[in-house]
């Protein structure tokens, strides 16, 4: 029993998306008013009722949202914000107090992950201890909003309006991370990784220890690029290539293999649009023109660091 579970925040977040849907629907000058409102409405429903809705219904909701997004029917409404002059003036007036709410989110996240799970009385805990870090961030965001509203003396409506302006700027890319995670799960269920691992082992002369290392690191990076998720790649590639070849056949150190292998996967994450929450959502959040701007900035680091990892493993995995 707990007072605040993740589900309460799903409902709250969903309510915010439904409010966005209403704001979009009431914007009479919006060219794609109803379809855009429908998109945010469907997303809101999947958050508010996600805990109790049948999974198949959620699948068809996603299908609906995808069709709306792919046919270009999700667009921005005109949320009016303040001009630069106005913002400079209020920045001057409020001063460094403006940072307090912004810093409250990380502070609450730290304090929350350390202490929230321990707060309980009569068998009722304050926070559900599963997913503690996400819950703590959400609590932090709500507290920060409260402080921010007090500080600026703004009505809640204004915060919702600014929030929907930003969430609409992110647009349909917002649900891409979830859709990609679902795809990863489907791949896993279909056994895609096992096939890839088999092909790699067949195609390369892995009886040489250094080829095994190269195949494993490359496999981690390429599979992460395909799936957008190094964790999903890890189970598949380490099970298919790493453990049988590096550890069993050639006697490599599993700790070094796993640590450096996972980090090779992370190099792949820097390079792929499939890692939407890291590489595409920020493009929308920062309002960049070039969809690949973040990947382009990361490309030199990702490739060099991959080469570093490869050499590190070649030199260390059979020695320590």
């Amino acid at each position: 029993m707990s007072l605040l579970s993740l589900n309460s925040f799903y409902v709250l977040g969903g309510a915010f998306m439904l409010a966005t849907a209403v704001r979009v629907a009431s914007d009479k000058g919006h060219a794609r008013r109803w379809s855009s409102a429908l998109f945010w409405g469907l997303l809101g429903v999947s958050f508010v009722f996600g805990g109790s809705m049948p999974p198949a219904a959620a699948g068809y909701l996603v299908l609906g949202m995808t069709i709306l997004a792919a046919s270009g029917r999700v667009g921005l409404s005109r949320e009016r914000s303040t001009g630069r002059e106005e913002r400079l003036e209020s920045a001057e007036r409020l001063g460094d107090r403006l940072f307090w709410p912004a810093l409250m989110i990380p502070t609450t996240a730290i304090v929350g992950s350390l202490f929230f799970a321990r707060i309980r009385w009569h068998g009722v805990s304050l926070v559900d201890s599963t997913n503690l870090s996400v819950t703590s961030v959400c609590i932090g965001a709500v507290l920060a909003l409260g402080v921010g509203l007090r500080l600026t003396r703004a009505p809640v409506r204004e915060a919702v309006g600014e929030g929907s302006r930003l969430v609409q700027a992110v647009g349909w890319a917002l649900i891409l991370p979830q859709a990609l995670a679902a795809l990863g799960g489907l791949f896993a269920r279909a056994g895609v990784g096992t096939v890839v691992a088999g092909l790699v082992e067949r195609a390369l002369p892995t009886q040489h220890p250094f080829v095994a290392v190269a195949a494993y690191c490359l496999g981690m990076m390429l599979f992460t690029i395909c799936l957008g998720n190094a964790f999903a790649a890890f189970a598949v590639i380490t099970g298919g290539i790493g453990v049988p070849l590096i550890v069993h056949a050639h006697g490599g150190n599993p700790a070094i293999m796993a640590a450096v292998g996972m980090l090779s996967g992370f190099c792949g994450t820097l390079l792929t649009p499939m890692a939407a929450n890291f590489n595409l959502v920020p493009v929308m959040l920062l309002e960049l023109q070039d969809k690949n701007a973040v990947i382009r900035a990361q490309l030199p680091i990702g490739l060099t660091l991959f080469a570093f990892n490869l050499l590190l493993m070649e030199f260390c995995v059979y020695r320590f």
């Binding site: 403006l98 204004e158 489907l186 996972m262």
Partner: protein
């Protein structure tokens, strides 16, 4: 689950064989004898590659890839929708923090948070865009290595880091062109990602180490979390060094852009 499947596959394929045996010794056909593992299952990956090549909507490509993969492995359309929906709902936690933060971030921006951040950085004479970003990466790496997950694109990069870096660049170079702002922001997102990814593996109670530990436990291979965390350090150091190189390059690039813009505006002094 891939996990279980992968583990079973490893055990099944290697079962009874001495671990030191060379891998090529046992027949290659075995992979294709494993029931239900034909190459056609890779269709999803080809759908993704084709979709990206044709620049189709990413969401559409992802869904199409999932449907194709499900169909070739014998699932009905309804079953695919059910599995997709279940996983979509289970992963709502990925979207939630962004959504929860946007109202307060938007509100603070409306009242001048970004402008205030720029004003703050103007007081520091040594600040350049690159140094601000490098400092952030370092702080992010160290804090997440200690198990403290602060930052994020919605919570830190948009409201604080990007304005700080832009403000520092304005102090150095005056007005920034659109391309310069875009470059700074892209590098700010990169600073967040690099700091996040290459600090995480040093903390033993964090997702990736727990995942690796669980994986080896299921295979009955004894591996200590500490040694895995320790072997994350060299790459973390290398990542920081690379970030130092990239942020230095960013500063040089900005200086060149600014000089060119100044030269264009005032040809005689150039």
């Amino acid at each position: 689950m891939a996990w279980q499947e992968a583990c079973d596959w490893v055990r099944g394929a290697r079962g009874g064989q001495s671990p030191s045996k060379m891998p090529r010794d046992y027949p290659e056909i075995e992979y294709f004898k494993i029931p239900g593992q034909p190459v056609i299952k890779l269709i999803g990956i080809f759908v993704i590659a084709a979709g990206f090549a044709l620049r189709l909507n990413t969401l559409l490509v992802v869904l199409a890839s999932g449907i194709a993969t499900g169909l070739v492995s014998g699932m009905s359309f309804n079953a695919i929708m059910e599995e997709f929906g279940r996983l979509f709902l289970a992963n709502r936690y990925m979207t939630l923090p962004v959504v929860m933060m946007l109202p307060v971030v938007g509100l603070l921006e409306r009242y001048g948070l970004r402008e205030r951040a720029e004003a703050l950085i103007r007081r520091s004479a040594a600040a350049t865009a690159g140094r601000v970003l490098l400092l952030y990466t370092g702080v992010r790496q160290v804090s997440i290595a200690l198990g403290i997950n602060i930052g994020g694109h919605a919570g830190a990069v948009r409201p604080l880091l990007a304005p700080l870096a832009e403000g520092a660049a304005r102090v150095c170079h005056g007005n920034l062109s659109k391309a310069m702002v875009e470059r700074i922001r892209a590098h700010a997102a990169a600073a967040e990602n690099v700091g996040n990814f290459f600090g995480e593996d040093i903390f033993i109670a964090v997702g990736s180490i727990l995942l690796m530990k669980g994986f080896f436990d299921s295979l009955k291979i004894e591996v200590s979390s500490w040694s895995m965390a320790l072997w994350g350090i060299p790459t973390a150091v290398a990542a920081f060094a690379l970030m130092a190189w990239r942020t230095h390059a960013l500063d040089r690039h900005l200086a060149r852009d600014a000089a060119r813009a100044a030269g264009a505006a005032n040809p005689e002094s150039a």
